[in-house]
Symmetry: C2
Subunit: 416 residues, 2 copies
Amino acid sequence: MKGNAVYAQSGGVTSVINASAYGVIKEAQRCDYIEKIYGGFNGINGVLYEQLIDIQMEAPENIEGLRYTPAGAFGSCRRKLSSLEKNRKEFERIVEVFKAHNIRYFFYNGGNDSMDTAYKVSKIAEEIGYDLVCVGIPKTVDNDLPITDNCPGFGSVAKYNAISIMEGAYDVASMHRDSTKVFVLETMGRHAGWIAAATGLAHRSPKDGPHIILLPERLFDQDKFLAKIERTISKIGYCVIAVSEGIKNKEGKFLAESGLVDSFGHAQLGGVGTIISDLIKNQLKLKVHTAILDYCQRSGRHIASQRDVMQAIACGRKAVEIAGKGLNGKMVTIIRESNDPYQWTTGYTDIEKIANVEKLVPDEYISDDGMHITEDFKIYCEPLITGEDYPPYLNGLPNYIKLERHLVKKILPEYK
Amino acid sequence: MKGNAVYAQSGGVTSVINASAYGVIKEAQRCDYIEKIYGGFNGINGVLYEQLIDIQMEAPENIEGLRYTPAGAFGSCRRKLSSLEKNRKEFERIVEVFKAHNIRYFFYNGGNDSMDTAYKVSKIAEEIGYDLVCVGIPKTVDNDLPITDNCPGFGSVAKYNAISIMEGAYDVASMHRDSTKVFVLETMGRHAGWIAAATGLAHRSPKDGPHIILLPERLFDQDKFLAKIERTISKIGYCVIAVSEGIKNKEGKFLAESGLVDSFGHAQLGGVGTIISDLIKNQLKLKVHTAILDYCQRSGRHIASQRDVMQAIACGRKAVEIAGKGLNGKMVTIIRESNDPYQWTTGYTDIEKIANVEKLVPDEYISDDGMHITEDFKIYCEPLITGEDYPPYLNGLPNYIKLERHLVKKILPEYK
């Protein structure tokens, strides 16, 4: 089936989501079944509002620059489609836009929520009767998609956080004699602790930080936590802690919403690092420093994992390949073939199995005391952060690109 | 004068203080007036407690590794010596230790407070009558030492923060359509705004973040600040803000201690990013993300400025050269010879002129509205972040070294 294609980005961005875009575009330009490739401006919104970026009009160096530019060059979105039953109008609009621009291929690059959208779009063919091949491309720093061995975006955020905690640990190790005793690093990870766990890669000898890792997979036990800090300090003089933004107390409530410090507790998480550090200051009377890397971690392309970049590109290319076979409703996966040496390839699975499912850190990756990782986790995670892939620099700063984003001329009336 | 030397690190550490150590050691090993070089374990404490690290016993690859390892490999300290009048005993102890180990050269690597200690030690010769040459080596991420054009450590923290805000800005630019509208980055800088100002290097076109920079050199004006956010958002859809930890309100009180959010206000600053973001959420009802890089910024050696590394090494080498000329009580300085092309060399000045003096960001580097920087500041700052100097990696993480830190056998009784 010959026709045009739309590629769009959805959900929280990563250091390498544009590398997947690069893979899609390069493969789309090479194959004979995609005539023109468009970018959805701000994810699925770009389709609904008929805001399609004409990728053909971008300078070749900008396309090359997608390989090393973080965040979503096409604009991302947090929009979730409702079901066909609830909002048939929305789906009919999507089909209208697809028809108007002869779109036969739709590539949606995102995480769990976005795969829900991709799944719904993939049903359009049978439900509304418009021939379309929809393929999902995995993307999430949270690494919480099932079936795929890992998700593009995770390797880089894992590397960024592991380096950050290593550097923070070197800092407090120099300072602890008559100053700071505890360093706390808050990581992303609302429900799954993959990112916090990855900081454990910096723990290469018993003295190395992090000494404590708090994961959302284990309920927070204040007494055990404070006792472990004290033990660590009595042994080596200081303590380095990684805490996932999504940890919960014994009642199963987010610590960031637990009222422990009442200036927080907004719906938006992200203050747990401060809560944990206030707790340590108040209970143990220690000087604490706290880092909250927030967006910097997931867009920290300057220190991306080379393997992550390679896998992100490969997932983009694979999506186009699958589409060419007419395989509608699939998501690209990364398959681990072996650990030693680490070998991987790409495959695919049904999007339906991915949408809205979260893969948590399994028990065998969490230490017995619930506050660290196991060797098995290191074997899993280390290959994903391997290699560096530095962007080009101009006068001291990364020379990231910005797309021109020329929009294709609208054909349809405005969507309300 | 032939004899042994002590090199010690003091105050908050940086990405390149060990590069200065490397410069000192290499030059000390090359010259004929220094016989053995020791490291003070935890700054001046190492002298007081006779804990001297035998640098001769370190593996050569560890010495080479100092070039690319962040934080204080010899241990730092926050100890300030009192005056000779108030605590003569302390100075006599220092002389005792120096005599016991035939120390004739003392190199102290630190900022304003540490230069106060260095100054006091430099007076020992005349006050107590022991021949000693004491030389200061500048180090501070805060860049607030007078006379020297800039301070080793600043270029790297400036680069780290400018990259971080650039990457955060790319993130919020992709997300703002139906999610986050404001990104706030808190930087170090208690009294001087050099670090926050440096984020302005990422502002390469009118649309680029940061759009607002809050410096301690200007009192915080809430109304003007909120109005500028609204203007920025109406123009480009989102707003990126850098805020120095040390900003003060109209009453001249630290915002972090102003009671605006009462869970903060500890003596230790570092919560102003959250205060600012709460303010924006409450007053403008916008979704805000906040990053507080804390120690990660000053030990972020993985993305050090190459120029900073070069200057840090040169300052270490110069200190040994000055010492060889018997110039007691001097601190090494960096001299800017020209801007276009940027050229620099090292010189020296009296430590006395440095100790306890803070150089703030001058008016000509701050924009008229007080919330951004000028082109002159960019001309000043850009050469300092130029070039990358990547550390070696092992399995995805920087292969930083740890010194063995063999202590020299003690000769004197315990110090109490």
